[in-house]
């Protein structure tokens, strides 16, 4: 059964007012089905960061409708959005965004901690994922003791641990060298194919876009082609 994870209808995002007014998104429509691997492409200034923030519930559209796996999220309070992010979205950021003072294990279990899961259960889950990512030996290392590729694997583990409906990757390979980029991308593709995860990758890199089964191009605040 395929169901819709993301439904964006006529999303508009306006910044500023009066003469400085600027439309970052000009009525975007997008539907992402469960199990899709989608790349949102665009050069800088195309509105893809805004798009990513809105999909990730980090920002609100000025107008339009957004239904994330069945819930209308446009009018939710900040705390409700936090709750939805925790339950339904796993983030992978360009610069990993791991907490520098805490071990990989601590970083990865954090989403479950905020969910109220017991430490033992969260640790068990994290170790399972670490095994899958082949980074078990890094569990107690600090981010500063890891390579970029390793940090991104920890970050992907953190995105996976809550078993979210959607994995949202913002330039996941942007800070990595070519070889590492390829392996991280492989990992995401594997998660898509084997685990049937719904993954949205926001990128400016055509190489990344090409490898995804579906790709939308954003230009000047509008979806150019599908």
């Amino acid at each position: 059964m395929s169901s819709k994870v993301i439904q964006l209808e006529n999303i508009v995002k306006r910044y500023g007012k009066g003469s400085t007014e600027f439309l970052a998104l000009k009525g975007v429509n997008l539907t992402v089905e469960q199990g899709e691997l989608l790349a949102i492409m665009g050069s800088s200034g195309s509105g893809k960061s805004t798009m990513m923030n809105i999909i990730g519930l980090l920002d609100r559209p000025t107008s339009g409708k957004y239904i994330l796996s069945g819930s209308d999220v446009v009018h939710m309070s900040e705390d409700e959005l936090s709750f939805i992010r925790n339950q339904k979205i796993g983030f992978v950021f360009q610069s990993f965004f791991l907490l520098p003072k805490f071990s990989a294990l601590h970083n990865v279990t954090l989403p479950l901690m905020y969910r109220g899961v017991s430490k033992a259960e969260a640790t068990e889950k994290a170790m399972e994922i670490f095994k899958r990512m082949s980074i078990e030996r890094l569990a107690h290392s600090l981010p500063s003791q890891m390579s970029g590729g390793q940090q991104q694997r920890v970050a992907i583990s953190r995105a996976l641990i809550g078993n979210p409906d959607l994995i949202l990757a913002d330039e996941p390979t942007g800070a990595l060298d070519e070889k590492t980029s390829a392996s991280v991308l492989e990992l995401l593709k594997e998660l898509h194919q084997e685990d049937k995860k719904t993954i949205v990758i926001v990128t400016h890199d055509p190489e990344v876009g090409k490898q995804c089964p579906r790709m939308v191009k954003l230009h000047d605040g509008e979806i150019e082609n599908e």
Binding site: F83, N86, Q87, L98
Partner: protein, 404 residues
């Protein structure tokens, strides 16, 4: 939409662990913030404990003497009136009949005459007393005996502890049995007092005094007269009533004299009031330093919030609610002030102990100054930590994720 809990279910122990990690990663800054609270808390504890010790010490004298004491000083009404009449011994004897409340009357005279011992002048006053003085003032003897009723005009004397020490430096002889020269006449030393804890109640210092029988003292100089009387009253007597009865009596026998009353009860209540004000004042000074410490905590927490915007953004992105962020920072500031508070309580008690040692007071560990100091410190942590924590919780996730 289902109901959303106000905060996440993150266990409190984890908050404390994270707070510890964060505080530990900025050791110097944490140390300085803790130091600020420490100094504030220590001064509150030390000042309050010191004030309490002082009060305790001041009231100690009455614990032994009892509070059912009344003293009068008999002064000439008109200054310079040379030939005013003196209060006589029989008039003093009759005081027992003046009021039922009076159980013991201890009249004494004090005068200053030249004294010497073994040719060395002595510094002190001469007190003419009866055995009643010893029993009211709970005077203890180091050697020999006190004045007795039978001594009357015998040339005997008792020396105070300080004078005794002065004499021992003059001569190797044991002063007991030796003689003091007072104004040309010799008086045999029959007793030495133990050190006498002074009190606000007697107008003479027995430690610096040579005590002679009262009738003898009245014969020693034409200026000698009974100028103070101490009364012991029956328990629960009405002091005001007794004072009035005494006033009436003395108006009859010695109309040119004016009386100055002092009761132990009155002194105690005055002292308590004064000490309370003092303690309050000291506590206030301590509270100001604690305020400064609290502002230090706030300052450091604000810096911490600014520096950790990225962390706040990440935590929010993965599901922290405003309240989670608030609790996180609040726990850090409370930890700072609780560390400071604990250390401050220890240092404060230590300081009050040192004060007690230096001043020669008995040290007592009072419970409430440390409790107050600690509670105020912890409260300062919450109060001054709340604004930074609130500010952190209101930060916008996108802004914070973008910040470097």
């Amino acid at each position: 939409m289902n109901k959303i809990p106000l905060s996440s279910g993150m266990p409190v122990t984890l908050y404390f662990k994270d707070a510890f990690t964060n505080l530990f990663s900025t050791k110097l800054r944490t140390f300085l913030a803790v130091l600020g609270i420490l100094v504030g808390c220590a001064s509150v504890v030390a000042m309050l404990s010191g004030g309490e010790l002082m009060t305790r010490q001041a009231l100690l004298q009455f614990k032994e003497l009892g509070t059912n004491l009344l003293s009068i000083q008999i002064n000439d009404q008109s200054s310079g009136g040379s030939s005013s009449q003196k209060v006589t011994m029989p008039e003093v004897e009759n005081l027992y009949d003046v009021s039922n409340n009076i159980t013991l009357v201890a009249p004494y005279s004090s005068l200053y005459l030249d004294m010497s011992y073994e040719g060395t002048p002595l510094n002190g006053s001469i007190i003419g007393a009866t055995d009643a003085l010893s029993s009211i003032m709970k005077v203890k003897m180091l050697k020999g005996r006190f004045i007795s009723y039978l001594d009357k005009l015998e040339p005997y004397c008792i020396v105070g502890n300080d004078l005794y020490n002065q004499m021992k430096q003059t001569s190797y002889k044991d002063p007991i049995g030796q003689q003091i020269n007072i104004n040309g006449s010799f008086y045999t030393i029959i007793g030495v007092l133990q050190h006498w804890p002074q009190n606000a109640f007697v107008f003479a210092d027995l430690n610096q005094a040579v005590i002679v029988p009262l009738p003898l003292s009245l014969a020693m100089s034409k200026y000698a007269e009974i100028n103070s009387i101490i009364f012991r009253l029956a328990p629960n007597s009405k002091i005001k009533q007794t004072e009035n009865q005494l006033t009436t009596y003395f108006q009859g026998v010695a109309p040119t004299k004016s009386l100055y009353f002092q009761s132990a009860e009155q002194i105690v209540s005055q002292m308590k009031k004064q000490q309370q004000i003092l303690t309050l004042f000291l506590g206030f000074i301590g509270a100001i330093s604690l305020l400064v410490g609290g502002i230090g905590v706030m300052n450091i927490m604000l810096v911490s919030v600014t520096e950790r915007k990225r962390e706040i953004g990440i935590r929010k992105a993965i599901g922290a609610k405003a309240r989670d962020i608030r609790i996180m920072f609040l726990i850090e500031s409370v930890m700072l002030s609780v560390f400071g508070g604990i250390a401050g309580v220890i240092v404060g008690i230590l300081i009050s102990f040192i004060i007690a040692e230096v001043k020669g007071w008995g040290f007592t560990l009072f419970i409430w100054p440390p409790v107050i100091g600690f509670v105020i410190s912890a409260a300062a942590g919450i109060f001054f930590g709340y604004y930074p924590a609130y500010k952190a919780s209101k930060l916008d996730p996108i802004q914070t994720l973008r910040s470097e």
